[in-house]
Symmetry: C2
Subunit: 255 residues, 2 copies
Amino acid sequence: MIQPPQSARKASQSEYSAALIVIGNEILSGRTQDQNINWIACKLAEKGIRFSEVRIVPDIAERVVSAVRELSARYDYLFTTGGIGPTHDDITAGCVAQAFETPIVENEEARAMLERHYGGPEHLNPARLKMAQIPRGGTLIPNPVSGAPGFVIENVYVMAGVPKIMQAMLDHVLPGLAGGDVLLSRTVSSRFPESRIALKLADIQESWPDVEIGSYPQFKDGKFGVSVVLRSANEGMLEAVERDVKKLIAELEQG
Amino acid sequence: MIQPPQSARKASQSEYSAALIVIGNEILSGRTQDQNINWIACKLAEKGIRFSEVRIVPDIAERVVSAVRELSARYDYLFTTGGIGPTHDDITAGCVAQAFETPIVENEEARAMLERHYGGPEHLNPARLKMAQIPRGGTLIPNPVSGAPGFVIENVYVMAGVPKIMQAMLDHVLPGLAGGDVLLSRTVSSRFPESRIALKLADIQESWPDVEIGSYPQFKDGKFGVSVVLRSANEGMLEAVERDVKKLIAELEQG
């Protein structure tokens, strides 16, 4: 079982934050549509961890290193996706090691995993052995699908980019993470455009600073409507705000 | 016609870079799957602009301001999506103004656009007028669908978050942007896993440093294969590398 990292073990902490670095030339080139961000967002929300930032950066070592340094210092948890395979463009493990000024070494457990996966030590060519190179002190995240394990070092969770593998890795690490209060949400929809409800919605937001009120225009059948999304860990407050928003919309509908 | 910004008018420049800030609580909460990143990536690639970074940040003013400052300084172009509507959580225009230490003022042309859109000045309530508040010196990007215009200031292109509107805004600004050489790409697929071709692929990459070689595992019908994607502005080089990669795979297939 993976332990929550040091930085997340604050006894009195009720809110936990996380960021994600997508290491992805293929996303930036437009070749591939990312499927991991939304998945991770939903899983973190369920766990009561605030997803606070995503960066998509190219496969350039200095860019990955500086993003890892900056975001691992700023948030409780940092996840990365992509770049842990056997090819020359898989640079994530080396970059994470560099970010923490830790040497990258052959991890015995990773080597054993790869031996099992490829059917014996005689099948471990140098490219496959590259996937056993893990920053010293890293804890492995098993890969149930292909060879390359992910790993955890400090508060950084290094995962594969292939969605099926990333999902399995995330399922593996999430139970060991500390989370805070789960944000509950309510959505109130209206056929009125945002500009009709904006001012009164701002008044409601001002009265209830602890409920996050988001207003999202919708474009449907050639007409604009709006979805008002309310978020709070406090169900009572959420209900009160939902009542206020519904009342506002009912008043508009009557006149 | 929108002029290319000062920072992009370098006479001898052959490469142009761009970044994107997605202002998006709704993306970070998992409620919405982003549809803009991939669209923008493809359009920039067609234009010969290197898409170099994406940040998804929450609707928190200081986070938006610091991202705008950092990325507008680092790249030739910065795009933003989201947060230009009439509600309290639409904070983008104010944040961009703050990033450039410019006052935000009522833009006459924007006011006129909104008057036309809403059918006369008598329909401009304060919420709608908020959408005419543009950083001083900003040039408008028309919104053919709903009221709120986007705008350009310095090298920052502020667009709507609703995909249909963002796409129309991007189509409006792209013809005015300077682009460099368009990267051509070739994809060579193989049923072999990455770890079989990794070392020889690294040799090819070393021989052809000006062709970007990406290796992407594919998981299909329970088996791993690989797509090798080659990118270069030089068609001759691209063909040479494609030949080398195809030869490598053919040799593997013959055993």
